[in-house]
Symmetry: C2
Subunit: 287 residues, 2 copies
């Protein structure tokens, strides 16, 4: 297997059906190189995750980092060393091929973009999958509250704050936040809806004045697109999955793999079931 897939056909993102494609069908399509783009909007209701793959030497410390910073790093799955499988997130799942894009780091901030990491796989790699904002954003829109960046077809704006994460071993760095602005009543609703999705960063960490968390110019995000802020809006800030990526960049392990932003791992775990399960472990809903 090579590090690139032939992009013969993407799943039609204009179709109404993208939300209804099963995670297994989408992963299979990605594995075959048929679907190459974002996973936003696909397989509605299923948990999607950020990816961090590290050598075993870093795994314990990174696990501690996630556990100490659960709002920015909500852990939803973790592999055994060397195993490309995480059965609790999907029985057939192969982490080496089932994402549409990866970034491979080799001891520096520079990276190589690839669509398959089978040929660079190592026996000591541990995979971490961390929750992303999709399920709380879905809850907000289900509640009838519009998300301005979605309406404008932009990426959510993200900012490095002056709030430090709790360090663990070699991992440390600032909290990164995403910002969504709302009319005040909608801001209150967005806070309430997102709080229920702890695996998707939960309730926001800040509201109002950006300067209080070290954001000098809200119109100039560090990542993502320029925000859309309407007259009378109040900005609301959530912990963001870029936080662990910055912590990894501060360590510069000899080897690391992350996902390309927006090209997430789509799991077989229903977001509602994972958040509100009576079980100690979320159940996998095999398609």
């Amino acid at each position: 297997m090579t590090a690139s897939k032939s992009a013969t056909r993407s799943v039609d993102t204009n179709s109404d059906d993208i939300s209804r494609i099963t995670p297994l069908a989408l992963r299979t399509s990605i594995r075959r190189g048929e679907h190459t783009g974002t996973t936003t909007g696909f397989s509605s209701g299923y948990l999607q995750g950020n990816l961090a793959i590290l050598p075993a030497d870093y795994a314990d410390e990174f696990l501690q980092f996630c556990s100490k910073n659960p709002k920015s790093c909500p852990l939803i799955g973790m592999s055994e060393p060397g195993s490309p499988h995480i059965p609790e997130l999907g029985i057939d799942l192969d982490i080496r091929t089932d994402l549409a894009g990866y970034r491979v780091f080799r001891g520096s901030a520079e990276y190589t973009s690839v669509t398959d990491v089978s040929d660079v796989w190592r026996d000591d790699l541990v995979t971490f999958v961390l929750g992303c904002s999709f399920s709380f954003e879905a809850a907000i829109t289900r509640g009838g509250v519009r998300l301005r960046h979605m309406d404008a077809n932009r990426n959510v704006p993200m900012y490095v704050t002056n709030i430090a994460t709790t360090p663990a071993g070699r991992f440390h760095g600032p909290l990164v936040v995403s910002m969504r602005s709302f009319a005040p009543g909608d801001a209150i609703r967005a806070i309430l809806y997102s709080d229920r999705y702890r695996l998707a960063h939960g309730a926001p960490v800040h509201i109002g004045d950006p300067l209080q968390i070290g954001i000098a110019d809200i119109m100039k995000p560090d990542f993502g697109d320029e925000p859309v802020i309407n007259e009378g809006d109040i900005p609301v800030f959530w912990a963001c999955g870029v936080t662990p990526q910055m912590a990894i960049r501060n360590v510069l392990p000899d080897f690391a793999i992350t996902h390309e932003p927006g090209l997430m791992l789509v799991t077989d775990v229903l977001a509602e079931a994972a958040e509100f399960s009576l079980q100690t472990k979320p159940e996998v809903y095999q398609s």
Copy 2:
């Protein structure tokens, strides 16, 4: 029985025990004229209520008004016409004697302050008891978030807004809000904690710019005391029990009774049980 009780002795409000006095003991003390002041801080964990007593001719319309405006008028109990009892709020409860202060209205905005309404009672009076902010404030402080008006030993500031309630029959009027200001992170927590207490106004209705809801000068409340707002605070606004009182004042029924602010009806209903009961009706915990 006369309209005044002899104020021989108040329950000692400096004692640590005021939070632990049972509702029955407190109501008995009020009935005997021994406790004459505020009920704030007494009988921790039990629902306290705002009082509105109206002639039966107005009762259906007022019930509709409460039902259409549940955030400002959360109904926790209602009597049969002419009955001074509301068994679901306390088996021995006598609404004519069990509050420390009443306001009696006779077709105008003027009122008489009395400590007993036995001698003005009528066979057509219907009593409404509406939830108040105490249980959400208790939840906020249990969560470690300070309430600035409490720290300053002041009444919470209240404001008439430019938001109209939903009218019902003859009842109409503006939404009145109470304001509490917090550091932004605490504001988010206060929103989450208060949301769980729907019988105590639930989540706030506004956050941030006071002018957006018609409050020209936040330092000049329409009721209560001047607010304490710290540097970097964000103001948060909750629906307030003064709203139904203003709606009643707009109607000017030939006869009406309300409570004196702060001198509430203390019920035998545990706030947690009422909010989170698996029953269709809250249970009365008889002391």
